[in-house]
Symmetry: C2
Subunit: 186 residues, 2 copies
């Protein structure tokens, strides 16, 4: 960030009054330009015993498998964003369920939120950001070819909870939370 | 947003290739300037039967009572942000607990996240953004003078869960989620 988005003047990095961190400040118009982490919202689309995954057609992690997910947009709720991404990336219509996982990815300046989701039909279709989309039984999940630690961790939590019967009552789902380290590899 | 923060050229509002929404685009350097909702992270600081609240010394809602909360910063996790805000606004040191509520406030372009928190001692002190800080029993909560719908809703959920014994086992806390409408008044 080099120039003020309001008046095009050069920005300086300085701690404003009553603040404790350096911010990009415009000394011309007085604007303070804050930067904050962004939310990535996605779903765990379920049909019977199977989970829907997408193979990425974009960087980062081109060619690796992911749950449908993307940046939360202005004007939508976190669950609406998860539904939208599931349609856009996987062509699947889901009934969105409860929040299931929240993972902080500090080094990427992101918070990842995944919702349980029921596919209404077994229909799906790769969107422009997906090379292919497929449904997987637990034993067939491509664990070595997953795109992100948050996806791997969410799938691990999902199958563990399902095996333990913890997903049987929608009103008592326990949300899983964890912080992901930069050093984590798939 | 009027000028490119990278090169100071005027921005245009246009839908990029492979996108479905208008974005602020710089035709000079090619930068796309995305805007996304921000996270507000806070805590429900508990000491015995009491909850700690802060009376706001800043707009919006100057003079009204709130749970300690503020914008998530780059470089911190959601729970670390909740701890920081509790120190900054209320001078209270807490052991942060599980995530308790997630509320979408779409019209404010915000997602609010509140964590359960245990105060280590009954000590607190108003920070620069608070006029005063005080501990309240449930019967003394200033319901008519709360700052935000998300704070009121989170406190209602907290006292309902406490009364029902649902907070006794830290490993089985159910996260509450709701979307807040623009029309909601305290
Ligand atoms: Zn300016
Ligand atoms: Zn530019």
């Amino acid at each position: 960030m080099k120039f003020c988005s309001q008046c095009a003047s050069p920005l300086v990095l300085r701690i404003p009054a009553d603040d404790s961190r350096e911010r990009y400040i415009c000394e011309q118009c007085g604007s303070i330009h804050y930067e904050n982490p962004r939310n990535v919202v996605g779903s765990i689309p379920i049909y019977g015993d199977q989970v829907l995954l997408c193979r990425r057609a974009i960087e980062p992690r081109y060619g690796f498998w992911t749950l449908p997910a993307g940046f939360l947009e202005i004007g939508e709720t976190t669950s609406a964003g998860a539904i939208r991404e599931t349609i856009e990336e996987a062509g699947a219509n889901v009934d969105i369920g409860p929040l299931f996982s929240l993972l902080n990815v500090v080094h990427a300046q992101q918070v990842h939120l995944f919702y349980l989701a029921q596919m209404r039909t077994p229909d799906f279709e790769a969107g422009v950001e997906s090379l292919e989309v497929a449904m997987f039984l637990e034993k067939d999940i491509p664990w070595q070819d997953l795109a992100f630690p948050t996806v791997k961790q969410t799938l691990e939590w999902y199958f563990a909870d399902r095996a333990a019967g913890r997903l049987d009552h929608r009103d008592s789902i326990t949300v899983h939370t964890r912080d992901v380290l930069r050093s984590e590899k798939i």
